[in-house]
Every structure is written in C-alpha cells, then in structure tokens.
Symmetry: C2
C-alpha cells in the first residue's frame, strides 16, 4: 500500500469552511491513488477555551482529567472532517486513540507514543476507507486518555508514519514552509525547499511556528521525510529530510535569532574550579535554562568575570538566586535585556573552513559588536545588541548568498 499521512493543524481546521477545504485536500490524494491516513489537531481556539474552563474549576486541575478534557478538541475536529468526507461520498471513520489503540507512556499532559496497533486501520485502508485519527493523544496501559503536550499532533503524525511505514508525511499548517530567516524581519527571506533534520532543529526559533523540535527529533530518529505545506495555498512547501539527501551549494541555509534573551555578568568572581557549577546549580534546580556562557581568562590568576545568557522572563528569578547564593562571591552583577542572539545555520560549514571569520568580518564591517560567541557543528551564534538585529540579519543574509 502506498500510504500518505496528512496532518492538519489547528488553523487548518479552524472553521467549518476550512474543514471543507481540508476534505478537498484529502480527496486530491485519494485521486492520486494514495491510501490516506488523516491526523488532525483541534479547531483553533477550542483547546484554549477548554483550558480556561479547567482553570476556573481549579488552579491545580487534576492532570488526568485535564487530558480527558482537552482531548475532546481533536475528537470534534476529526468527526467533522470524517462527516464531510462521508458527505462527499467517501468512506471515512474517525478514530480516537483508544479505538486503535495508540499506546502511550509517561505522565499525563506530556506522554509519548510507545506503540500503535496497525491492524484495525490497515483493514479499513484496504477496504478503501479514510481513517481520520485524533492527533495529540492516546491511552496509557490503564486505558486512561493521555495527551502528548504542545505540538503533540505533529508527534502523532510522525509516529503514525513510522508504524504504518508511510511513503510520505505531510504537515499542513498556516505557513507555507521554512524560510532562510523570518520574513517579517527581512523581506528578502527565501523559502527553503529542502532542509536537514539537524538544520531544522537548530532553526527552532524560526521553525517553532512550523513544527515542534521534539517532533523533528522523532522524525530524525525514525528517518521519516516530512513535507511542510500550507493548507491555505497550493505553493510547494519545505521538505525536511536526511543530510545526505540534500544537494546544495549553500554553506549556510538559514539565519535564526532571538528577541527575548538577557545577559548576566558577574564581575570579580574567584577563578577556581567549581565556581561555574556553584553559580549554575541553583538556576538549574529552578528550571532556568542557561544558554551561552563565556568566562574571561583571568588576568591576575585570582579573579575573573563570567557572562551567560538566559531568557528575559527568568531575569528576576536569576537575580534573586544569585544574590542569595552563599557559595559565590563577586564584586559586581550586571544585567542587560537589550541583547539578541543571531545564529547562522548550515551543514555545509562542517566541510567549509572560514565561515566563522566571514561572519565576524561581515558584522564588523557594519560596526556590530559581538558580546558572546557560541558554536556547534552546524551553527554559529553571536550575541549582539538588540538594536543591531535587523542590520545583522540583512548583512549575513547577503554575505552567505541566501537571497539568491
């Protein structure tokens, strides 16, 4: 069987009119002789409305009942899609997680799919049926409803593709693909036709609008190609696939950036082993994520400075934790919320020397000062003053020929 998994996000099924369009998209694949497995999110707005209700009932709503509550959103969407397909003369049935079953493990609200029984759905596919499966949910071994957490419907699509050995997995969303950088920040941004899982993961700050990193990682581990497309247009989207499938003359594939980082500098801390650990331990215990870190070389062998970045929203908490940390001493504590992290991403840099130099040179020419640097195999990130962000994106986009 030539199976395609089609996943529709919340805005793609956001209104009755959109659901009718989605039914037409599904039928276009049936006409191409695919066996289609549909996965749907809840109609946009419905899940938030349910969450609001739960908060009014309790500020500490039972997690198991929370899953029972919010899982109704996908059930509604799937029955409407299936109802539409039947209306148009196609044989279709909705399936909730428990009916297949889609087995999950882990805690309520953030479970993971561990197994999918393919028997019932395969039988239905062979009879020419179109199964419409609720994304974002399953059941655990106690037969209680579980949900998969944010972006969970993407995870459902990836795991269904894996268990049903689908030829294609297409994620329909409200953007038409992944761009070299945010088109809102740079008009010249170009759609990327094909991108590797690894690059996509590094571009999370842009890609989050397209797919959650956890699902991309699932796809990477299971070697499932993903097409990201808009259900609102007929344009080609972006394919996310293995590195070796990508033939590109571009060293850099995209530029991502953040807007809500903050920089923290401790001046005059003791230069001794374990000092960084002493600083970061209470942050980690309070779920504060430290991103970039740089420690200056000690001038006198006794004292040094340490700079790191965190999310702006964690700034107040971080400040408090450092001040009451008795294991560290420092002369001065400096905060800066006017910073941005700009990253260039591309698997090409593994085999191409001089990328770092070109990046720094391009920024320097525009008088953009680099505050902190961090690198990975396929990414170079620099921290700059927030006011320079548009200029930085523009010059790097040009330097690495992303607008061509």
């Amino acid at each position: 069987m030539k199976i395609v998994v089609l996943k529709f996000g919340g805005t793609s099924v956001g209104t009755i009119e959109r659901i009718k369009k989605v039914a037409n998209i599904i039928i276009s694949y049936i006409r191409k002789r695919y066996k289609v497995i549909v996965v749907s999110s809840a109609m946009s707005g419905i899940t938030n409305d349910l969450i609001k209700k739960s908060k009014k009932i309790s500020n500490n709503f039972d997690t198991s009942e929370y899953d029972v509550l919010v899982s109704t959103g996908e059930q509604i969407a799937c029955s409407l899609i299936s109802g539409r397909l039947n209306h148009l003369g196609y044989k279709s049935k909705s399936y909730m997680g428990w009916q297949i079953p889609i087995i999950t493990s882990g805690t309520y609200g953030s479970s993971r799919i561990t197994n999918i029984n393919v028997k019932k759905i395969n039988k239905f596919l062979k009879l020419g049926g179109i199964p419409v499966i609720t994304g974002f949910q399953g059941v655990n071994l106690n037969l209680r409803v579980t949900t998969l957490g944010r972006g969970g419907s993407d995870a459902s699509a990836i795991m269904l593709s894996k268990f049903f050995k689908a030829q294609k997995c297409i994620i329909y969303t409200d953007v038409d693909g992944v761009y070299t950088t945010d088109p809102n920040a740079l008009k010249n941004a170009k759609k990327i036709k094909i991108i590797s899982y690894e690059e996509m993961l590094e571009m999370a700050s842009l890609g989050a609008k397209v797919m959650q990193p956890a699902s991309i990682q699932d796809a990477r581990l299971n070697r499932i190609d993903i097409d990201v497309k808009s259900s609102f247009s007929k344009k080609n989207g972006t394919k996310i696939t293995k590195k070796k499938n990508i033939i590109s003359n571009k060293i850099i594939r995209g530029i991502s950036f953040t807007k809500n980082d903050a920089k923290v500098t401790l001046i005059g801390i003791k230069d001794k082993p374990g000092i960084a650990a002493a600083i970061f331990k209470p942050l980690s215990l309070n779920s504060i994520n430290v991103d970039m870190v740089v420690q200056n070389i000690s001038a006198n062998g006794k004292e040094t400075d340490l700079t790191f970045t965190i999310k702006s929203e964690d700034l107040y908490k971080t400040q408090k934790l450092i001040k009451k940390n008795r294991k560290i001493k420092f002369r001065n504590l400096i905060f800066d919320k006017n910073v941005s992290k700009v990253s260039i991403i591309g698997v090409g840099m593994i085999t191409t020397p001089g990328v770092t130099y070109r990046m720094f040179q391009a920024l320097a020419k525009k008088n953009i000062n680099i505050l902190v640097i961090s690198t990975s195999e396929i990414k170079i990130s620099v921290l700059i003053n927030k006011k320079n962000i548009t200029k930085a994106i523009s010059v790097l986009h040009k330097e690495f020929k992303l607008d061509k």
Copy 2:
C-alpha cells in the same frame, strides 16, 4: 455497598459555577456514607453548538460521526466535575462509555443500553472513589461511540441504577419536581410528592420537562425508584415509584394538556368495514400519529362522520394525504387548529366510579363543550376549544381537590 446514582442535567452543569455547586451536592452524599455514582449530561448549549457545526458540514451528517461529535459534550462536563472533586480533595475519575464499557445496541443516535460491566467501577467505589460517568452514550460491539437520543442521560442513570443495584436514583434537573398541572397555566398547581410510573407516563406532556417517557418506562420495567429534584434549590422533589407504594386519598393526581393539537373531520364517508383503516394507513406510513378518534353512529346506515386529532405540525401533510387517497370518498373535510386536549390522570379512578361524570359535569357547568373523548385505565382525555383551556384546568383542579 449503599449506592446512590446522581444524575445532573444540562442546566445543572450549565456554567462553571453550577459545576462547583454540583460537586458540593455530590459531597453531601459522600458525607452521608453513600457510595456515589455520578452521571452527567453536557453543559447546556454545548450539544446544540456541536449539532449546528454538523449541519454546516452536511445536511445529511453521517450518523456514526454525529455520535462521536456530540458525545464530547458529556466528556467535557464529566472531566470538569471530576476535576472539581479532585480539587476539593476527593478521589474521582471520569469514565466514558468505552472505558466501563457501557454496551449499546441499535442505530446510531438512538441506541439502547444492553449491558454495563460493573467490575471496574465497583473496584473504584470500594477504594472510596467517585466515578463520574458520561450520560447519553455508550459503545456498540464494534467499539464505535453511540448515543441514546433525547433524554438519553436519564436512560443512562436508570440503567446504571439497575446494573449497580443502587438504593437510590436521583435526577437533578432545573425544575423541582412534578406538579399537579403546569404552574405556568395555573398558579394553584401543587407539587406532587409521590407518583406512580404509570401516572407519570400519562402526564408526559407535563413530565417531559422532567424526564423522557422512555426513561420512565425503563425505570418501571426495572422497578427503580426515582427522585426528581432541582439542583438549584434544597426543596424536596417528586418520587416516582410503584403504584403499591402510593398511599393517597386523591382519585386524580394531575391534569395535563396539549396546545398544539389539530382536529380533522371527514363528513359523509361510507359506513363500511375497513374505512377507518383506509383513512389511517397512509398517515401511519408517513409517521403521522393519530391520537383521539371518534366515529359517529350512522343515522341512515350508509353514511357517517369520522373525527380524529393529530399534531398541528402534521396538518398540512395530513390534508394532502387525505385528498389524494383514492380509497375513500367523503362529502366534506373540516380542519380545526383551535383545539386542546385536557386529561385528568390518577390510578385512583380504577377503583372509583363516577369520575367521568364528575369531569363532564364540572366542564358543563362552565359551558365548556366537549368535542372528543378518549379514556384509558388511569386517564380521561377530552378535546375542547383552545380558548377554554385555562378555565377547564382551573375547574378540574378544584373539582378533584388538587389544590389541597
């Protein structure tokens, strides 16, 4: 185990505030050392909203998917009730039909409960848990979601009471019981403390606001006592029970009436066997319910008149069917939409002669003309001009001492 089944209707769980009140009612039974099984309808409005959506998708929405769609309403209500009970420190879980399972048979949209597996719920009750079960639904043997049709949550409550051998079944609704007649029609109407299944069934026109006839019939067949109460007040409600439990000095227990009947008279039809059947067959084939029928005694042995009543909404269709019916001949066809059926109901009339006479006498004194009469063992109905309805109810209420 001392088990009580508490059923809450749509308005009783219509808002978050109402759901919080419902949780308090449930806890009051736990404090009285009952094991409580909760059954809930959907929050009022939600089901109608879902039905609207289905109609926009298709004017002929697939019945199986319709059940998947509307069943989410009860799922939402139950998770919120259960969430509230957990919030207040009580152990509670929601259960959908498939989780128990509640097995149904019959067609989608109007299935009937055939079996309920008590194992899982009994185990939970013994552990001190409060199960909150979705009313109105179950699963069929193909593991597809089914719903029970209008008033289906009452049916769920009755069948749960049966299978769990509940000591009490309490239907919480938005009226505080059954009245001798509609309080909107007669200020003097009194609440009935205890009423038999049979009387309640005959009072369907009043009782429909309280419970659907099919559920009353289920309760009667399974000998389950029902308390009907308001979740909005602490007043005592009405108990529906076996005839022999009722000790009352009242011959008549209640007065019901209709407001949307129509009378049809065929003048000058042939007085021969089979003529009534020839008239009613096409009506029956078109699902038109004929209620009261009266055929005059033929004066000349050749011709006679036939009068019957139907629902007003069927009048146009009836007119058409009679006119194109070639098996009957008549001189004249008369319609009257200004009629009402008034019924007096009471098991007491079985053993008390003269009730019919008292009814007719009372109406005659007020110059109310009787157009058609029909009787059953515990009910006498008369058709009168609609303009006399308030007067008729008032005089009969007094005659049979219902206001005392």
